[in-house]
Symmetry: C2
Subunit: 329 residues, 2 copies
């Protein structure tokens, strides 16, 4: 057996914890350390057998890490840390601000190329696995339409908006794909649908003692931008139910390509979907599989910025190409 891939984690929130757990599921990998901007002694790992280091010292570990998984946020952490860390390590991150991906790609490409490393950005499920399926769909069925539906998923921004309504003690909002819109797409109809037509919204609310349910419901469903144009349902529950049933972070969605192949003008529908019990738990599992790929690509002589669209599927697996052909084809 070859030596395990030496992996480290930068940033230890939900994603970092998930990455540590996913590495434990991967016998070909060894977690060599967690890096944090917090005081290392204040960071509590899910498995304390691994050392925690200060981010300030990370360059001293340049020769001890085969690939570094960046678990910071896309808003400020990654744009700041990514280019610097790409000059030291093979990196993989989950940068997910879709509109800024081309700029962020360019910001990683130069330092990674100069350092002879691979910087694999925007790994996760959207961007990530959903992007791959959008590509498979349009490349295989050029005459067609691609549809993305999100949900059932917890929306942080809409949950915050609900909680700002007077009379709301606790609240969450889930985005759901519209069943009727999905049925139309799956039928091969190729309808034109806006984001609003594709989704409904569902709120679970615990009221303050003095609050009036109808007033709160009205304030929510008429809220401009957030809810006014959506089909929104509001459910009132007690705090115990809220605590028991609405603390996890489910998400998921559907990418559907509906197209027509040439010879017989036959309808062909390709669908990819995810039903995730934990959004950060899944995203970190994707990051760990792509960390393996980033390391192998660099071993194969690649350098510079890459995305999931550049990664051959076989590189994600710990199995050899011959074993994959035998078992999976």
């Amino acid at each position: 057996m070859t030596a395990p891939i030496r992996v480290a984690i930068a940033g230890y929130g939900n994603l970092g914890r998930g990455a540590q757990a996913a590495i434990k599921q991967s016998p070909d990998m060894q977690l060599v350390g967690v890096f944090s901007r917090r005081d290392p002694s204040s960071v509590t790992l899910i498995d304390a057998s691994v050392p925690v280091y200060s981010m300030d010292d990370i360059e001293h570990y340049k020769n001890d890490i085969d690939v570094l998984i960046l678990c910071g946020g896309s808003k400020s952490d990654l744009p700041e840390q990514g280019p610097y860390l790409a000059s030291l390590f093979n990196i993989v991150d989950s940068f997910d601000t879709h509109a800024n991906i081309p700029d962020y790609y360019a910001a990683l490409d130069t330092p990674a190329t100069q350092a002879g490393k691979v910087a694999l950005l925007s790994v996760g499920w959207d961007p990530g696995l959903f992007s791959i399926n959008r590509l498979y769909g349009e490349a295989i069925l050029p005459a067609g339409e691609t549809y993305t539906f999100w949900g059932k998923g917890l929306s942080q921004g809409h949950s915050d908006a609900v909680r700002r309504v007077a009379g709301v003690k606790s609240g969450v909002q889930y985005t759901l794909p519209s069943e009727s819109a999905m049925a139309r797409v799956r039928s091969g109809e190729q309808p034109q649908l806006t984001t609003r037509e594709k989704h409904t919204r569902e709120c679970f609310i615990v009221l303050e003692e003095s609050a009036d349910a109808d007033t709160v419901r009205e304030a929510i469903v008429t809220m401009p931008n957030y809810f006014a144009d959506f089909d929104t349902s509001v459910n009132f529950i007690d705090q115990a139910t809220f605590d028991a049933e609405h603390q996890s972070m489910p998400h998921g969605g559907f990418v559907i390509r509906s197209g027509v192949s040439g010879a017989e003008q036959a309808n062909q529908v390709l669908e990819f979907s995810l039903k995730l019990g934990s959004n950060p738990g899944f995203t970190s599992s994707v990051l760990v599989a792509y960390a393996r790929a980033a390391f192998k690509m660099n071993q194969n002589g690649e350098q510079g910025a890459r995305t999931v669209l550049d990664v051959a599927p076989g590189l994600l697996s710990p199995k050899s190409p011959a074993q994959l052909r035998k078992e999976l084809l």
Copy 2:
């Protein structure tokens, strides 16, 4: 704009016709010829603006073809033609005898490598897109189970068996995924299921005039190996309905990975499915997209046998990597 990719087709049955139609949907490709073992003058193309040549002459076109799509069958055509054609051209084929893939891979690898060409085998949906999704599933969720369901699909072998029953004038058999088995898998339960437990069978039969429906039904549902152990429904229809509704070749299926990510022991379900109005129409569309990839891989210096697991998704698209990052990520 760069020059179009010069594509040729070897073998002109359902797959060859589908490939010609799919190439017409691809502005970056140009079909330069169709090769057949039949007398070229007897081959009727769906679009006759392309020349038909004899397979015997194919080596004379060595410098005129960027990639050759092999549209023969896996049983005898491809094992015979593949290694020879891989010594002349970049090729792509849909070899689908799962158990023989490692041997066929080896038979293509040597001539392709010696010729400095890429031979991309076993392209289609199973093996093919389903294989890719089995790989994504197990690489991302190593703790879990993968399930493949087929259907709704026309089964040639079972349709033949039904037609051999005395009293059957016309007949087809469709394999359907079991809804109850799929529901258990989607719930995250990870049940152990045999192929039989995952599928049901549905027959549409036109009776001979003198035949007794109950006798025919009994003969079908008790037929050993084919139907006895399955939940089988038999529907009797008239010839006009049969001709109108049962002449196409639908197929499809589902690959589902049900796994548990580490940190929160959260259930995570990944599902890929196809609902195909025409099985050969879709398979040939996949072949054409991978023909583009085979050519690009060879342009990038690759040579030897490859499978879909070796192909980065971006290579399937006519768009540039920068355009793909902007539009699809």
